[in-house]
């Protein structure tokens, strides 16, 4: 679970001299929302987002319709992009949750992934969502169960042991501290090819833990 595994390689990119009109077209055609701006050798010089392309109406207020056209056609990416120094980037070997933290901290939607000053990929909030989905096995059919357990050593082992004793396996799992209750943890597990009733029976027998949700996912 590193940036390199979840980033998109070969992102769609633009040149500093590319016109805004063309860049708009490319972003619409490829349905991307972020466009790293690069010079020869994929050297990063800036970043353009859809927001960046929104020109404040005040800039255009004093212009007539012909002047607006000329103004727009002369506008290039280097005029609107976030400059290199202000672009927050990341390296491919960073753990995914750390990348997510960077994005949350700066309230940004994407991070260009760099090797030196060369762009090798991009990771966006969508990639993070995909990772979260994968983490809990969301794309695979099976039974999703949430078990609440006390916040102490050995509780997770009890859960895993109970599953393993029946010869079953855990396809995916994740755990968080119970919201607003630091003394407990909620653990989500995904189990496949097991009848739901049998699984529920086993989980309910675990001492000190509580099965708070079970559902079939298709």
């Amino acid at each position: 679970m590193f940036v390199r595994d979840y980033m998109t390689r070969h992102p769609v990119m633009g040149d500093p001299t590319m016109s805004i009109v063309e860049a708009q077209g490319i972003m619409a055609e490829t349905s991307v929302r972020h466009l790293p701006v690069v010079e020869t050798g994929k050297q990063l010089v800036g970043l353009v987002t859809r927001q960046r392309m929104r020109i404040p109406p005040t800039d255009l207020a004093s212009l007539n319709v012909w002047e607006i056209t000329r103004f727009l056609s002369n506008l290039t990416l280097q005029d609107v992009m976030v400059k290199r120094d202000a672009v927050i980037t990341i390296e491919p070997d960073v753990a995914l949750e750390e990348a997510a933290q960077v994005m949350t901290r700066h309230r940004i939607g994407c991070l260009p992934v760099m090797d030196g000053n060369t762009v090798i990929g991009i990771i966006t909030e969508i990639d993070m969502m995909a990772q979260l989905t994968d983490l809990l096995g969301g794309r695979t059919p099976g039974i999703r169960a949430t078990v609440r357990m006390p916040n102490r050593k050995g509780e997770l082992a009890k859960l895993i042991g109970a599953i393993a004793d029946n010869g079953w396996g855990i396809y995916a799992s994740g755990g968080v501290q119970t919201p607003k209750d630091p003394s407990h943890w909620d653990c989500v597990i995904k189990v496949r090819n097991v009848p739901q009733a049998e699984l529920v029976a086993v989980l309910e027998r675990i001492e000190g833990q509580k099965l708070i949700d079970v559902r079939q996912q298709h």
Binding site: P11, T30, I120
Partner: protein, 700 residues
């Protein structure tokens, strides 16, 4: 299982692209109506015969068309950006950063006067301004990534100092150094041996996943497509006639041309009886002769109707992701196809010949080439003489009227064996008899009658015909030389021979340059059979030809053989062709025959380990066929200093079946083990052990 996330658009998208060349006949549209797209981590194969415009498409994508080529219509979008109409400067930048190409001949892509290390690091220092030392480190890591043995050492070498397979790996490494989004490969393995090809194809498959690169893979080889591609576009005469997933195209081809192509490819998994090849009649029209306002394939199609000749079919989607350019795709059922009369010769069972006295018999034949020693002593004639053991201890015999196929990697001595039999090389030792005559004497000392009975068909028809004499003269020459017919009947005989190879009398007055490759090879065959020889040696007679032509030439050879009862030795590197063609097969490695026997026995266990590896490397035109994964590493060792014991022990993947990791293989020459009267295997591993192995190919 990961779903598509960022950028749902494909890396490359062509819509109705058309490319023209300016010629003295005006602009000629080489490619038109070509549409396809390639996604990340996907390989799109473009297949078709030569002259169908495959390479033009590849060059068109990056506008490498040369001064007379131009894109005249449609759209080519790379990552959402229109490439048509870009300035050369913009394209140059794109090619450097995001699009790489790998060509057929690695030696032409590498600079012979610069070390490999310098060529690789240059890519990074020039394009990305990376410091030299760091670039070197990256280059070495990339060489490791393409499984180059000893990469640090290879960096110091010049291109000619490494093998062809390694050169191609360097070219691929170089193409990947800039981490391109799109990789265009134009026949990247065609110039390589089958064992090396298998390794390079595995590599391409691995890299696609690791680098998420979109690959456009151009090839004429349907077997290769089945191995590496996800989706395929079949091109015919400049148009895309069918596009679909590789499974759909092989399982249920919808266009008659694709169906025809499938029928003319030799298949390894099938039995000999079912492996008859059906050529497509006619040939690909030149761009200026293509039918207008009609189906482009109609003149060669078995299903064509008036509509096909009067209306142009569009590429239609028949099922999701699978389209074909044919009016009748839904109604044509290829399983009910029957060959038209005269397309395929009647193959009478070629029984007989067994138990007859063999027509040719070799015993312990050795042909060595003397090598200049580099020592000073050799200058005065005192140095130790070194020999390249091109053919070593070869024993075989062929009954009259039968065909012996000889296979092996390049450099294994196949051609030297043929040259020795024909008399162009003189053996150092051993016996060779043909019709009871000794043929260890060079051709210049042979009796004319003997030469008459022993003829040859060569690999490259271009270089074996005199460009300044017409065809009639060239076929007539052996007739006059051997007095086959009285001199006033030579012309009639030439015409008869031309007819036998399916060419008409008008070809007599043509010059070689006025013939296509397939026609030249037919003339070559007519010339070889002119003297009505008893034995014809065919040295890779079809490897330079397109598949549909190849099928026609192979059928022709078999037909003529039956008519004249000629014996043949058929040299090939392609194991599937040999199976179709031969009664007996000999597998050669480093000058030695390691397995020989009836064709059926060679393709089933017990295998000599080398035969097994060769079979497992052959690309099979069937994506559902299961094939054992055995890869040979390294190259054929030098015949100057062959390995001790078993010559194959340095690369043998089965050595560990023997005690001590096969120590005996290094020490002792393996014995001949007889599986049946005619089938023998040269190996230390006991036959019982070899018999237990699974067949290499199992088709479902």
């Amino acid at each position: 299982m990961t779903m598509k996330r960022h950028g749902h658009a494909p890396i490359l998208k062509l819509r109705n692209a058309a490319i023209s060349y300016e010629t003295r006949y005006g602009d000629i549209e080489a490619v038109r109506n070509v549409s396809f797209q390639v996604d990340r981590a996907e390989t799109f194969g473009v297949v078709g015969e030569s002259g169908c415009g495959k390479s033009t498409v590849a060059f068109g994508i990056v506008d490498f068309l040369g001064p007379n080529g131009k894109i005249v219509g449609g759209s080519i979008k790379f990552q959402g950006r229109e490439l048509i109409g870009r300035s050369q400067e913009e394209l140059r930048k794109l090619r450097g950063d995001q699009i790489s190409m790998v060509y057929q001949d690695p030696m032409q892509a590498l600079n012979p006067s610069v070390t490999i290390g310098d060529q690789l690091t240059e890519v990074l220092t020039v394009h990305r301004g990376i410091a030299k030392k760091e670039a070197r480190g990256k280059s070495i890591r990339m060489l490791e990534r393409v499984y180059m043995p000893d990469p640090a050492n290879v960096m110091e070498r010049y291109p000619h100092q490494i093998s062809g397979g390694q050169q191609q790996r360097v070219v691929i490494a170089m193409a990947l150094l800039n981490n391109p989004a799109l990789l265009i490969m134009d026949e990247p393995t065609t110039a390589l041996d089958v064992t090396v090809e298998a390794v390079v194809l595995d590599l391409i498959e691995d890299l696609k996943h690791d680098f998420d690169t979109a690959i456009v893979y151009i090839t004429h080889d349907l077997g290769v497509v089945a191995r590496v591609c996800n989706r395929v576009g079949v091109m015919y005469a400049g148009e895309m006639v069918e596009v679909g997933s590789v499974e759909a195209i092989y399982d249920a081809p919808q266009h008659p041309y694709t169906q025809g192509l499938m029928r003319c490819v030799p298949k390894l998994g099938s039995t000999k009886e079912s492996s008859i090849l059906y050529p497509i009649r006619g040939r690909v029209p030149a761009p200026k002769d293509r039918p207008e306002g009609a189906c482009i394939f109609a003149p060669r199609c078995d299903y064509s109707t008036d509509r096909c000749h009067n209306e142009k079919p569009q590429l239609r989607e028949l099922s999701p992701g699978h389209s074909a350019r044919c009016f009748y795709s839904e109604t044509i059922d290829p399983s009910t196809w029957r060959p038209p009369d005269g397309l395929v010769p009647e193959f009478a069972s070629r029984a007989g010949g067994n138990g007859q006295e063999p027509i040719i018999r070799l015993k312990d034949l050795k042909t060595y080439y003397e090598q200049e020693s580099r020592s000073v002593l050799s200058l005065v004639g005192l140095g130790e003489k070194l020999y390249v053991k091109a053919v070593d201890d070869v024993s075989l015999q062929v009954p009259p009227g039968k065909t012996l196929g000889v296979v092996g990697e390049s450099g294994c001595g196949k051609s030297t064996l043929a040259k020795t039999i024909i008399g162009l090389e003189t053996p150092r030792a051993g016996e060779a008899q043909f019709l009871g005559f000794d043929i260890t004497v060079p051709v210049s000392e042979r009796d004319v009658k003997l030469i008459e009975e022993l003829q040859m068909v060569f690999q490259n028809p271009d270089s074996t015909m005199n460009p300044s004499y017409n065809v009639g003269h060239q076929i007539g020459r052996p007739l006059r030389r051997f007095n086959v017919v009285p001199s006033d009947q030579v012309r009639d005989e030439v015409v008869r021979l031309l007819r036998a190879v399916r060419l008409d009398a008008s070809y007599c007055d043509r010059l070689p340059r006025q013939l296509s490759g397939g026609e030249k090879q037919r003339v070559g065959i007519a010339r070889a059979f002119a003297s009505r020889p008893d034995l014809v040696l065919c040295d890779e007679p079809v490897s330079a030809l397109d598949v549909s032509v190849q099928a026609a030439v192979l059928n022709l050879l078999m037909e003529i053989q039956q008519e004249y009862g000629t014996t043949m030795m058929f040299i090939a590197h392609d194991l599937s062709v040999v199976r179709f063609f031969s009664d007996y097969v000999a597998v050669m490695y480093l000058g030695h025959i390691v397995e020989i026997g009836p064709a059926e026995d060679i393709y089933a266990p017990p295998y000599q380990p080398y035969t097994e590896a060769l079979l497992s490397a052959v690309p099979i035109p069937d994506p559902t066929a299961e094939q054992k994964h055995i890869r040979l590493h390294g190259t054929v060792p030098s015949a100057l200093n062959p390995p001790s014991g078993c010559v194959f022990h340095t690369r043998c993947p089965r050595r560990d079946l023997l005690p001590d990791g096969g120590k005996i293989c290094e020490q002792d020459v393996p014995p001949w083990q007889h599986n049946s009267d005619e089938h023998r295997i040269m190996c230390h591993i006991p036959l019982e052990e070899l018999r237990k192995m699974d067949p290499v190919v199992t088709s479902r």
